[in-house]
Symmetry: C2
Subunit: 205 residues, 2 copies
DNA sequence: CGTGATCCTGACCATTTGGTCAACAAAGGA
DNA sequence: TCCTTTGTTGACCAAATGGTCAGGATCACG
């Protein structure tokens, strides 16, 4: 389990690995793992297929690398919940951060959605491990606030699920949302006040 | 656009088409369209691959058939919203029906999730057509109730999105929800009161 | 029964796709 | 400059996969 002493990446390695991951994010997030081909990734990255496989051992390797790299970014807002802060504002800040991430990084959201739908074959250990710890920490903080009467009491885990569901929905189901709303709408802009109102009314003591 | 006069299905056709669709639902909902193979579907249906292709022209055909067949069932609860009913109870009944569908038909939920994630290649005309009409009708009813002061005013479209997101999340992200909650939890059972409380507090005048 | 329609399958095909490899090109340090 | 390391690719392979087809089995019905 000790970290391998990796030789530092060369300039070219840095650049090309980056291009591959960027291209792969684009392809995986639109077609899913099975639907994506190394050829597509190579083209999106502007490299030849064998060259892609020079930097990553396999398609699986690219996918796993993407997921683990992005997971940190994805969970960051939850870690930033501050137990010393004002309860309602902390929750609202998390909701806003999560919605903003869905707006700015919809491909990342879809990448995770595909992975979870599939049964999370590449994330099983993380799901029951690190993720659960992070969520439990947040749930404990929320529960504490509720016990102090500073937040309306609800199940903290399901509160967190609701935030995930409501914010990621706008990224993952983007086409459906836009098809139903029709042109002239910005789903993310409209969702802001809606979610704000929803969580304020539900959690206000 | 006129309906073709189809010869009635024989007993065997009825049975085998049914088995294929059942098997395909299972396979598509766990692997997505591209991840599913006709061989897997055939095995799940207990038929040989050529026999599957005797009943359906192509893999695409099976998939499209599944989606259109299931879409009606999926939208049924929304159509049942009754403008003459008691507003809050109508909404709560819809929420409960949708959660119950996620619980009983998680595979159907995931099938749609995959399709939307993919950009809904097989549902584009339905999304902007029939679905939009159904949603708009429901949104109009909700808006009417809000205008009458019988429901707290919120954006009706986003209210509907929120119900979809919150209920389908438990089916689509099942592994994640269970991994976070740990053993000894029934997410669907816990979600019931949570959603009940959420919508009552948000919509109660 | 008989016979036409329906049903079923082993064998096969073309294409796609993940991945390999030998050989060649470019960097880069001494 | 030379030579080792690093980077790149065309050609290739084996497996998987969507789909076809000729022919055989079974069914329904007069």
């Amino acid at each position: 389990m000790a970290d391998q002493l990796q030789p530092p990446l060369t300039r070219i390695q840095q650049k090309n690995r980056d291009r591959i991951l960027k291209g792969a994010l684009s392809v995986f997030s639109t077609s899913g793992f099975r639907g994506a081909t190394i050829d597509q990734i190579a083209e999106a990255a502007g490299l030849s297929k064998p060259n892609v496989l020079y930097y990553f051992a396999s398609k699986d390797d690219i996918h796993k690398s993407l997921l683990t790299t992005l997971l940190d970014m994805w969970l960051a807002p939850m870690i930033r919940i501050n137990p010393e802060g004002e309860p309602l504002e902390e929750v609202m800040a998390y909701v806003r951060a999560k919605l903003e991430m869905s707006r700015r990084f919809p491909r990342e959201s879809r990448l995770f959605a595909y992975e979870i739908l599939q049964g999370a074959p590449h994330l099983t250990e993380i799901l029951g491990g690190g993720l659960r710890d992070i969520v439990d920490r947040a749930a404990t903080i929320l529960q504490g606030w509720m016990d102090q009467g500073r937040l309306s009491p609800v199940d903290p885990h399901h509160l967190i699920f609701s935030i995930w569901a409501l914010t990621q929905h706008y990224a993952d189901f983007d086409v459906q949302v836009r098809a139903v709303l029709g042109p002239g709408h910005d789903p993310f802009v409209e969702a802001g006040p809606f979610l704000d109102n929803l969580y304020r009314t539900m959690l206000h003591v």
